[in-house]
Structure formats: structure tokens, C-alpha cells
């Protein structure tokens, strides 16, 4: 035998069947997340070595079926058809055998070697069911491995079965479903025509193709039209479907589904003994409370609050540590590198920029950990359901709340990615449009700075809370407007399986946290780093000539005003004057497009460059307080603008990709957010002034 035979194994299964746990058990942390070509469906891959096999495990999207009505299902079936994996592992929630086997009836017809991974065998035992695996294996013609993914039991046996199938030591039999005489006749007629075309015959498994055609699968019908026998097939199909409708007075797809469930039910009756009549299990009892009409929303609020509380309480020391670390690095570099352009570049440009992003990384990680906990425990599916009625009034879907949640204190980038769980394109676009309004981890420092500078501590917390409420309100109002005037049509129906409550595994939580966290971290590595350097250069060049006639302070100020950044700020000044801002805010806002936390560091640059005594710079907060150009009303107006205006570069680029590379919607997003921001700030500032909150200046 030659060393290291490379094979590909695909993992298929229903949502909530424990597929990702098994994927994690198989591949450990050697995972790679990418995209299936041309679509925004996540593709997870990982390598595992077993005996002399190097197995590339591909995690297919979780699906209930292989029809053509969702992107996930098309991706899953195309992968099996086109990439022809050596083995497909079908992960099954054994405690819910009948429903899970429905996918099997379709996978089976794809003529690929299948190994059944019967997961959650511990729950089967608890429920008192007894499954005769040998019997079931004969009935379905496939090897079966009993597993408990949550305890990492059965992983080796699963690999053994996969290797056995590849070595041809384990036999696989093809057991086709009997669809009954009437349907079979139509299938035979179709097969006869298909067989005439070699190309078509070699492209699709015969049984699968004919069943899909009869089932009215539009994607397959479109494909078949391209072949020479296309027209003949369409004619035959029309006749056959008409015949079946007449005979059974029902659509062929309903009958075929019925036959599949019939086959499954037969196999289950033979191979499975059900335990005593199911009592109300713990999940049902918990749901009685959580889904309660009166209690549902308050419980939701408590969960959200606890996520925030957890995040801030536990991340604080780590965030402090990071901040100190970057300050220390800055001081260290200053002491080694002589004062001048290079020192300024390293300390202000590089360390300042990257530190700004990394500083909030722990907060974001804690946040994602808490969210992952409620996701994996099964609560988030309930939360989506509880919120659906309310959210659908605003043109959002129940599932829209999770992306918004991830963006709040977290990051809009993984938030926008999380909109993938929304099936309708319209719902997805609306959710993507409003997700950036949330106060993300990067906007937080802006709020902390300005609220800290212009309001007493006691009021500060209230104002911060108000800002959170405001961000949600703006998102909802915005969604409503979009639904009413831009994306007309109905919100997709809410149909969602509620998985049983489970205790999440630490490994699963950490992997999920890291996956989303990584998206955030990538910013520091690429865009933000680059942009902080550009901003630093923008303030530093062109250098103004030293004029002996003016003092130090004035020369600093004139340097600021003359720099590229200063000129840009002056250019936009007329547009932002009506909302109470001058050219310096303009510069900060433009720089903030790189990443929102850059707004703070830009003010840092502006004030420390403009200050007289560079050796004892006032803290930024005091500098802002002392500056007569600011007052509380202007601060609020500025914060409003920061809250709403266009998302950062990374979020925009993810939006572009996730909207299907739509320049139109991306431009719309930019226009929409910035216009909203200006209008809100304008109203706040002007009304505030009329009411006399502005004071002088």
C-alpha cells in the first residue's frame, strides 16, 4: 500500500443533528473556513489522518433535504455531484430518526458511498428507545456507527468505517425506494430517454435525476434543457405528471415525499423499539416559561443584559492589560528610537493604530463567547421566535436579531456574516443594512471619550444607555422605511426547528468564538494597520516650513491645518457646520471610516500635535473639555453622527461581498447611513440650540 492516500469525505446532515460537534471531533483545530465558489455559503474543511489515509473532511451546510429551494441545499448537492467525495458521512440525530432519514433517502439516490453516523445515542438511551443497528444497516444497505458526539464517543469507529469503505472491506448496497407502480412507470419512461444521451447519463445518477425531474425540481429541469434530449424529457415529464395528478389527485412531489416517509417508517418500525410514551421532557418544561406570551420578552431582556454584563465585567482587566501593554511598548520604542519622523511613525502610526484595534479584542472575544453559549444551548432559536412577531412589524425576521446582537459591542463584520442564516434575500439585505447601526466594540471608545468629557459620571451611564436604545430604535425605524419604500414585499415566513436544550461544550464555544473573533482581528492585520499609517502621513505631510516669526504652538497648529488631513477637513467643513462640527471633527470622521476606533486616535493626534507642552500632554478628555469649540450639545450631535454614519471599510467590503457583489446596494448603504446621520444630528443640534442647550460657542 502506498503511503498517505488522499481522500475527501463530506459531512451531511440536518441542522441541529450535532454535525459540527462531530466535525470538530474529527478535525480538532485544524480547520479552515472558506466559501463555496460563487455563493455566500460557508465551507468548513479540516484534515484528519487515519491509518494510511489523509482525509480532507468537508462540512456541508446543514439541510433537511436536497431540493433546490435554498442556496444551502443546492451547494450541498452540487458538492456531492461535482466534487464526488469518496465517502459521505450522513450524521443523524438518532433520537429523531424518522425526520433525519428523509435526507438519507435523497443522499442515497446520489450513488455515493454513505456511512451513517448515528449521533446522540445517549439521548436515545435516555428516552428508552432501542435501535437495532445491524437490522437498520441491512435495511438501508449502509454501514452504521453509533456515536455520542458531545462526549467524543465513536470518532475512531467512524474513521474505521470510512477507511473500511475506501478499502472495500465494508460493502455498501444500493437500496432504492419503491415509489409504487404508477410513479415507477413514469420514472422508467424518463430513464429510457435519459439513457439515450451519454453526456447527461454520465453527469447525473440515473435514479436521482429521474426522481428529481418528476418532483419538479426547477434547477434540474433547467439543467436538463441544455441537453439534446431536453425537449423530449420535458414532453415526457408533462405527460407523466399529468397522469399522476389524474390518478392520485395529488402532485407528484407530495406523493414522492409521502413514499419516502413510508419507506423510512417501515425501516424504523422494523429496526427500532420506542420507549414508553414520551413524557414532557425538560426542554418542553423550559419552553413553557421561555416562550410564554407574558414572560418571553422580559426573559429575553434579562438574557441580553447578562450577555453585556458578562462581557464588560470579565473583559475589563484584560482590556486594561492590553492598553497598558501597548502604552508600554510605545514608551519603550520612544526610548530606543531617536525623536523625529521614524519615532513618530512607529509610535503614533504603527503601535497606536494596531493597539487601537487589539485593545478591544478581548472585549469582542468575551462578547462572542457569551453569544455562542446562548446559541449552542438552544436559547437563540427561541429568542428569534419570541422576537419574530415584533420584528416582522418592522420588516425584519425573527432571525435578524442575532446579527444585530453580534454587532452590539462586538463587530458588524461577523454580524453581517451571520445574516447568512436568513433564507430570503430581501430579509437578508434589510438586516445587513441595519446591522452597522449597532454600537460595536469600536464605537464604544468614542462614546466613552465624549460622554466622559462632557457629562458627569452619574449622567454618563444614562446617556450611554440611551445611546444603545437609540441605536436599536434607529435600526428598527430604518428597517421599516426600507421595507416600506425600498424592499417591498413580504417578510419570509418563520419556520424554525427548536433544538432540545443542551449544555454547550467548551470546545465548541471556543471554536465559535475564535471564528468570529478572527474576522475582527483580521482588520488589525490588514486594513487598519495600513489606514493608520495613511492617517499618520496625512497629518505629517506636507511639512510646513518653520517660520521664525511665530511661536511653537502656532506652528503646530499651522502644520495641522496645512497637512493633507487638515485640508480635507477644511474641505468638508461647510457640510458639517450646520450640525455643530468644525474641520477637526471632519478629519476624525473621515479617518473613522477606516475603523471607528480611529476617531479617538485621530483626536489624540490632533490634540497632542496642537498642544504647547508636548512633554506633559493633557489627557485627551481634559483637552476636549478645555477646548472652547466644544460643548455638551455639540458632543451629543457628534456622537449621533458617529452612531449612524457609514460603516467602516471592512464592514462595507463584507457588505459588498455578502450582498452578492452589488455595487448598487453598497452605494445605497453609504448614501443611506450618511444621510440619516446628517439629518439626525442636524435636528438634535438645531433643536438643542433653539432650546438653549448650546450655550456659547
Amino acid at each position: 500500500m502506498n503511503k498517505n492516500k488522499k481522500i475527501t469525505v463530506a459531512l451531511a446532515g440536518n441542522p441541529n443533528c450535532g454535525k459540527s460537534t462531530i466535525f470538530n471531533n474529527l478535525t480538532g483545530s485544524r480547520q479552515h473556513v472558506g466559501n463555496y465558489p460563487g455563493v455566500t455559503v460557508e465551507k468548513k474543511e479540516g484534515i484528519v489522518r487515519y491509518q494510511d489515509y489523509e482525509i480532507n473532511v468537508v462540512d456541508l451546510p446543514g439541510t433537511y433535504s436536497l431540493s433546490a429551494y435554498s442556496e444551502d441545499e443546492i451547494v450541498a448537492r452540487n458538492f456531492i455531484l461535482e466534487d464526488k467525495p469518496d465517502v459521505v458521512i450522513h450524521v443523524i440525530d438518532s433520537s429523531n430518526l424518522e425526520r433525519n432519514l428523509y435526507l438519507f433517502t435523497q443522499l442515497n439516490e446520489l450513488d455515493v458511498p454513505i456511512v451513517l453516523a448515528m449521533n446522540m445515542s445517549d439521548i436515545v438511551k435516555k428516552k428508552g428507545h432501542v435501535i437495532n443497528y445491524d437490522e437498520l444497516s441491512i435495511l438501508l444497505g449502509k454501514p452504521i456507527v453509533s456515536m455520542t458526539g458531545s462526549e467524543n464517543k465513536g470518532t475512531d469507529q467512524l474513521l474505521e468505517a470510512v477507511a473500511g469503505v475506501c478499502d472495500r472491506k465494508i460493502k455498501i448496497e444500493q437500496v432504492y425506494i419503491d415509489y409504487g407502480q404508477e410513479i415507477d412507470e413514469q420514472l422508467c419512461a424518463l430513464k429510457e430517454i435519459i439513457s439515450k444521451d451519454e453526456k447527461l447519463l454520465s453527469r447525473y445518477p440515473l435514479q436521482w435525476l429521474s426522481v428529481k425531474l418528476l418532483e419538479n425540481d426547477f434547477a434540474i429541469i433547467d439543467e436538463v434543457k441544455k441537453f439534446s434530449v431536453g425537449q423530449e424529457i420535458l414532453d415526457c415529464l408533462e405527460k407523466g405528471q399529468g397522469h399522476i395528478r389524474q390518478h392520485f389527485s395529488d402532485d407528484p412531489e407530495v406523493l414522492i415525499a409521502d413514499r419516502r416517509y413510508g419507506f423510512i417508517s417501515g425501516a424504523c418500525t422494523q429496526a427500532m423499539k420506542l420507549g414508553a410514551e414520551e413524557r414532557h421532557d425538560i426542554s418542553d418544561r423550559i419552553d413553557k416559561v421561555i416562550l410564554n406570551r407574558v414572560l418571553g420578552l422580559p426573559i429575553f431582556a434579562v438574557v441580553m443584559y447578562s450577555i453585556f454584563k458578562f462581557t464588560f465585567t470579565f473583559s475589563e482587566p484584560v482590556v486594561k492589560f492590553f492598553e497598558t501593554f501597548f502604552e508600554w511598548t510605545g514608551t519603550l520604542v520612544s526610548s530606543f528610537v531617536p525623536e523625529g519622523l521614524i519615532q513618530s511613525f512607529l509610535v503614533d502610526g504603527v503601535i497606536g493604530g494596531v493597539g487601537g484595534v487589539l485593545g478591544f479584542f478581548p472585549l469582542v472575544l468575551f462578547m462572542f463567547f457569551a453569544i455562542a453559549f446562548f446559541e449552542d444551548s438552544g436559547y437563540m432559536a427561541r429568542a428569534a421566535f419570541v422576537m419574530d412577531k415584533f420584528m416582522s412589524k418592522f420588516g425584519l425576521h425573527g432571525k435578524s436579531f442575532l446579527p444585530m446582537m453580534i454587532a452590539t459591542n462586538g463587530c458588524a463584520v461577523p454580524g453581517i456574516m451571520a445574516t447568512r442564516t436568513l433564507e430570503s434575500k430581501r430579509d437578508r439585505l434589510i438586516t445587513m443594512m441595519v446591522t452597522p447601526f449597532m454600537i460595536c466594540g469600536a464605537k464604544l471608545p468614542i462614546f466613552a471619550l465624549f460622554i466622559g468629557a462632557f457629562f458627569p459620571v452619574k449622567q454618563g451611564a444614562n446617556i450611554m444607555f440611551l445611546m444603545y436604545i437609540l441605536s436599536v430604535a434607529i435600526a428598527f425605524v430604518s428597517a421599516w422605511v426600507l421595507k416600506r419604500f425600498v424592499f417591498k414585499g413580504e417578510t419570509a415566513h418563520f419556520v424554525m426547528e427548536l433544538p432540545p436544550y443542551r449544555v454547550p461544550t467548551i470546545k465548541g464555544l471556543l471554536l465559535k468564538m475564535w471564528e468570529r473573533g478572527w474576522l475582527y482581528l483580521k482588520k488589525a492585520g490588514s486594513v487598519v494597520f495600513l489606514i493608520s499609517i495613511i492617517i499618520w502621513a496625512g497629518f505629517t505631510f506636507p511639512e510646513s516650513k518653520a517660520d521664525p516669526n511665530i511661536d511653537f504652538k502656532a506652528s503646530r497648529t499651522s502644520q495641522m491645518e496645512q497637512s493633507f488631513a487638515g485640508r480635507l477637513g477644511k474641505f468638508v467643513e461647510p457640510a458639517i457646520q450646520p450640525i455643530g462640527m468644525d474641520w477637526r471633527s471632519g478629519v476624525a470622521l473621515i479617518a473613522g471610516v477606516a475603523a471607528k476606533e480611529v476617531v479617538v486616535s485621530t483626536f489624540g493626534t490632533i490634540y497632542s500635535l496642537g498642544e504647547v507642552d508636548v512633554d506633559h500632554p493633557d489627557s485627551l478628555k481634559t483637552a476636549l473639555q478645555k477646548d472652547p469649540a466644544w460643548n455638551p450639545l455639540k458632543a451629543i450631535s457628534f456622537l449621533m453622527f458617529c452612531l449612524i454614519y457609514l460603516p467602516c471599510v471592512v464592514a462595507m467590503s463584507v457588505f459588498y461581498r455578502e450582498s452578492g457583489s452589488s455595487a448598487k446596494w453598497t452605494l445605497f448603504l453609504i448614501f443611506w447611513t450618511t444621510t440619516m446621520a446628517w439629518i439626525f444630528s442636524f435636528v438634535v443640534y438645531q433643536v438643542g440650540q433653539i432650546l438653549g442647550f448650546g450655550g456659547i460657542g
Partner: protein, 74 residues
């Protein structure tokens, strides 16, 4: 024949049909709803949203879709 949206907690029903686009009909079929299938209402107040048990799994249905599902008493 009634609508699933009007069902109350504990009711045992038989699925008849669902009105709506091909996509949603197919989705419900894939989740186990075929004509004649038993539906147990786990939670319903008679005002729209319901959670039901179909083939042993728990499924949440929003107001809009529950209204389109025709059922009869088992």
C-alpha cells in the same frame, strides 16, 4: 377544518395542506409535514404563533405561516 394558528396548547391535529409558494410548501414537507401527518401543539394560544411537535421534533411557526396551514382534529 381549521387553521393551525387557532390551535391551543395540547391539541392533537392532522395536517391537511398548506397554502403558499412552492418554497415554503417544500420546506414543510422536508421537515416532516405530509398530508395525514400528526401534529401535536406544544404551545399555542389560539392567536397565531405556535410551537408544534412533528415526527418527534419541535418546530416553531410564525403567525403568517400558521395561518396558512389547514388542519383537522385527530
Amino acid at each position: 377544518m381549521t387553521r393551525l394558528s387557532q390551535a391551543k396548547t395540547g391539541a392533537e391535529l392532522i395536517f391537511i395542506s398548506v397554502g403558499g409558494g412552492m418554497g415554503i410548501v417544500r420546506r414543510l414537507t422536508d421537515m416532516g409535514l405530509v398530508p395525514g401527518e400528526k401534529i401535536k401543539v406544544l404551545h399555542g394560544s389560539g392567536q397565531g404563533q405556535v410551537t408544534v411537535s412533528i415526527k418527534g421534533s419541535k418546530i416553531a411557526l410564525g403567525y403568517g405561516i400558521a395561518q396558512k396551514i389547514a388542519v383537522r382534529l385527530a
